[in-house]
């Protein structure tokens, strides 16, 4: 019964005191949020910290939640705000070497053919490097789209940019990624 509920219904239920609803909501979005933060921040410690902080903010603001906003948009908006704050306080960001070291520690899927695994590994590595090299705004737009599953309007809502601006950022991001694969 609970699995059929939308994110918004679950969030409202939690705001009303239903802890089970929160657990369902958390299971649905924990991975997405964590990956978004990890790829955006490129530091596990930072990702861990902001992951927890994002959920804390959400819990604290549960009674102010209104279902007019899509839940994932709201969740990623909170996370994005925290990331922006972190970037402002912690410049310069992690170097490319540090980023690659972090990405290498991520577990690779199992049961892959060696040849294909090598190929897949290379492709993933290139994608990861390309994402790291993207300007912050482009990376954010790409991650919100590809990890958060948000549309142009929702990305614009979170980032404060217009629809065309978001489209432009995504275009540039894709061009840079493709360029990385072309080398």
């Amino acid at each position: 019964m609970g699995a059929e509920k939308t994110d918004e219904e679950l969030m409202l239920a939690y705001a009303g005191g239903d802890l089970l609803a929160f657990e369902m909501l958390y299971r649905r979005h924990r991975g997405m949020l964590y990956r978004f933060l990890l790829r955006h921040l490129r530091q596990r410690a930072d990702a861990d910290e902001l992951f927890q902080e994002t959920w804390s903010r959400l819990i604290a603001a549960r009674e102010r939640y209104r279902p007019e906003a899509k839940f994932t948009t709201w969740l990623l908006q909170i996370a994005h705000n925290l990331v922006i704050d972190r970037f402002r306080r912690q410049r310069p960001q992690a170097s490319a070497d540090e980023t690659e070291a972090v990405l290498r520690t991520l577990d690779a899927p199992e049961s892959e053919q060696p040849e294909r695994a090598l190929s897949e590994f290379e492709q993933r590595r290139r994608l990861q490097l390309a994402l790291e090299e993207l300007p912050e705004e482009q990376r954010l737009a790409f991650l919100l789209r590809i990890e958060g599953g948000l549309g142009l309007e929702e990305i614009g809502e979170i980032t404060g940019a217009g629809r065309e601006t978001v489209k432009s950022r995504l275009r540039y991001a894709l061009a840079r990624i493709r360029a990385r694969f072309a080398t």
Partner: protein
Amino acid sequence: MNTPRRPDQDLERLLADDGGEFGALYRRLPRAEPPRRLDRSVLAEAARAVHGTRPRRQRWLVGFGSAAGLVLAAGVAWHVGHEALRQQSPEAVHGTPSYVPVKPIEAPARRHESKPAADAASAPAAEAPAAAPASANVAAETETHAAKPAVEKAAPSQRRAPAPAPAAPPAAPVAAPEPQPMLQSAPAPAAEAEKREAFGAADSTAASAGESAALSKQAAETVPKRERATGTPALSSSAELRRDMQLAPELWLARIQQLVKQGRRQQAIKSLQLFRRAHPDWQLPDELRALDR
């Protein structure tokens, strides 16, 4: 993937549901998950947030309950105090107590009452109260405090029992009426004045037997209503004497005569001695003069 594509095509594919080829590639990236400790921490925080509001409500309820309890206790205390005041006689409350006249107890009931404890003392007085000889009264001086409570305990049942046809004269012996110590007090001034008017002019020496009986009856009627109603035990001897002192002289003498008839000679002598001290010039009836010697 190495073939160049137009950016707009890539964007369209990216915005498609499957995210295009980059979406597929991205999904093949390591699926990093938050550590278990973060899961535990977040879920615990969510639970605290939900449960944290309940104790607040409970504390509020406890506070409200305590206040309600206090109000209830105060109300009950006030009600109990108010009831206690109402149950007290108005005289006791206002400091102007008086004795409420009651009917004398009939002789058969008295016989029933006195048998368990003091047969020798009370039986003759009950059977022939008016003509109780002095010799019998002497024997009745064996009255003790030990026997008295037994007599008094029987008083409630005696009062409850319906009295038979009053064959005995009005001055029939009654159980000594004794008010509660806390409520014992002097007669009301107004009532006493009336009694003085009724008896003050009468010469005690010329008092007839009928008058004496009437006085005895009136003295017996000085038993407080509350005592009779509640069946509380009678007073001690000294308390009786104190109460006698508060009677009008005529009633006091009648009371002494009543004590004699009840066979309580010793108590009658003590009461008479006190009377002599209080009213040295009062002329005693003949039957009490003999007692005074």
